[in-house]
Amino acid sequence: MTDIKPKAVRRLGDVVFANLAFFAGVSILATLATVAAFLFAQSVPAFTGPPIDAASDGFLSYVIPFVFGTVYASLIGLAIATPLAVGIALYISHFANRRFAQVLGYAVDLLAAIPSVVYGLWGILVLAPFLSPTFNWLNENLGWIPMFAGQVSATGRTMLTVGIVLAIMVLPIMAALIREIFLQTPRLHEEAALALGATRWEMIKMAVLPFGRPGIISAAMLGLGRALGETMAVAMVLSPAAVVSFAVLTSTNSNTIAANIALQFPEAGGNYTNLLIATGLVLFAITMVVNMFARWVISRRAEFSGAN
């Protein structure tokens, strides 16, 4: 008995496809490397060149209000969107009848197709005036909470409005992803819970949610990534000031990095452009940190995630 291993057959199709797939993967890495190199190279003159009027107290004191604003707006958006997305996903996967679930699925996916400029216009013209009376009520009755304190904006263009617009923008991605996760719950677990006498809600609590938790977190991180980079809607809706402010109902709100770049870049000249790109580099770093954290959380329950 000889133990010659038969050589695997490789035809032209295998070779071509393997190489195409390899180059596709490499090109993504190359693009990322190019963008990172651009950010670093263009940021350097901001630190080594002559002092810039806008950042007269140094780079850190210039960028910190924007970092705060970016994270704060995204967290508010995420806090509103996550329960909504989980609710929509649960409804579509476990409660609605098949026909209506499809319609609802299409409607939620359609929200993702709306351009962010349109969200900005809708925010200024419809949402802000609509929410203004609610903000006044919140300020009068719950003004002792620092978040709702301060002089309420007359036009409603506040951090809370921006948070709601961001929530609506990240909702489709999160809902679609979480819906898929919930549909993947092992039928055996669900049936077992029901067989033991659990009601529908108890079954969901025992079988669906624990299974879906890493998926919910990864969807939330994806939504957070989208919210962190959102530019036009924030630039149009928010009334910004260069301060760090926790109050969500006032006119002086911390701007986000991306919106600041969109507002200042057209008239910026010389070093100021480099300063703005340096803030873009900071945003890149924040997004990388968020993604790494998300991957770590998911890796703890690796067997339930397709991302590994």
Binding site: G156, A241, S251, T252, P266
Partner: protein, 369 residues
């Protein structure tokens, strides 16, 4: 079926190929023949003219390009609204033949080389675009209010916070001012409009408005920030008791402020805006072909409205390429002409330049070679 497809493909391909032989394609290639035939009664201009610069006059440039190209079908004019700083920089690299800018040449820029111009010669400039900045507000039933410079500065600096404040009520005795908080709206993006408005505030009320002419609003003055002229207008329209500043052509039917000039209160208008440019002194130490003007915000000339944004047209006195000189002369003449200024005003809402300024500018244009 196959034959039909073949026939259809042949028809499509031949259409595309024959379209390339269209007669209107070779006009751009002919060099300007005007310079060689000075005895012809009608000079046919041809060529391409490139310019870039201020975005404040972008709408006006579109109207001018349309009008000029209809009158001179052989010429193609391109204007890229990159921003004033970029426009001047591009002119200094020789990429463009003319530029539009919200601010006049700085002394240190004039010391640099200008590759489009013959070595040793300087560029000319004169105001071409006068855009009044209206102070707009939204108060039920009130369409006009009188205010002096110190009051306006106090409102935007956050010191005057209520509409029925004594300072406003004193000069508006026949207006019923409500007990409502003032919300001052400013531009959240850097802009020439902000710069000119704050220049006015620091000139007329330097002790209230302490930060000078700025493009980025200081946080301690409060107020709302909105993106772009349309953002400010929609913020003022959408709120009650809001006040802001924006290009006058977009003021719509919002209430406007008549500012104190001398002893009168002057509302914005095209004539009033052009009047302040004429009443303002030229910058010291410049040549006769440089009409850089320091707008006198404290002017007491009657009927002048001091809150204006003035943009300049700039070009070479002596072009390296004589054909370009020909085109720039015709282009600039059209821009300063009454016909050109009115055409821009009809679409973009700027204030046409006065006859006096037109005459001075034409002298400079005629000297271009």
């Amino acid at each position: 079926m196959n034959n039909i497809l073949k026939l259809g493909a042949l028809a499509a391909v031949s259409t595309l190929v024959l379209a390339g032989c269209a007669a209107n394609e070779d006009v751009a290639e002919t060099p300007t023949s005007a310079a060689e035939t000075p005895t012809e009664a009608v000079v046919e201009l041809a060529g391409t003219l490139n310019g870039s610069g201020a975005s404040s006059m972008a709408a006006g440039q579109e109207a001018w390009i349309a009008g000029f190209q209809i009158a001179n079908p052989g010429v193609t004019v391109n204007y890229d609204p990159t921003g004033s700083g970029t426009g001047r920089a591009q002119f200094m690299t020789g990429a463009t033949s003319f530029t539009g800018s919200d601010s006049y040449w700085k002394d240190e820029e004039l010391l640099e080389a200008f590759p489009s111009c013959v070595a040793g010669t300087m560029p000319w400039e004169f105001p071409i675009w006068i855009s009044p900045i209206a102070v707009i507000f939204n108060l039920d039933g009130v369409s006009s209010l009188n205010m002096d410079g110190a009051t306006v500065a106090g409102i935007f600096a956050g010191e005057i916070t209520m509409w029925n404040d004594a300072a406003i009520a004193a000069v508006n005795p026949d207006v019923a001012l409500p007990d409502l908080a003032i919300t001052a709206v400013h531009r959240s993006d850097e802009s020439g409009t902000s710069k000119n408005f704050t220049d006015y505030l620091s000139a007329v009320a330097g002790d209230t408005w302490t930060v000078g002419a700025i493009e980025a609003w200081p946080a301690e003055f409060g107020g709302e920030g909105a993106k772009g002229t349309s953002g400010v207008v929609s913020a003022v329209t959408g709120g009650n008791g809001t006040i802001g500043y924006a290009d006058a052509s977009r003021a719509g039917d919002l209430g406007t402020v008549a500012v104190k000039v001398g002893t009168d209160y002057v509302s914005y208008s095209a004539e009033a805006a052009a009047a302040v440019v004429d009443a303002s002194p030229l910058v010291e130490g410049r040549e006769s072909y440089d009409l850089a003007t320091n707008i006198d915000r404290n002017t007491t000339a009657s009927g002048a409205y001091p809150i204006v944004l003035v943009s300049y047209l700039m070009g070479c006195n002596d072009y390296m390429d004589d054909a370009q000189a020909e085109l720039v002369r015709a282009w600039a003449s059209y821009l300063v002409s009454e016909e050109g200024q009115n055409a821009a005003a009809a679409t973009a809402g700027n204030a046409p330049i006065s006859a006096g300024l037109r005459a001075k500018a034409q002298v400079i244009i005629d000297a271009i070679k």
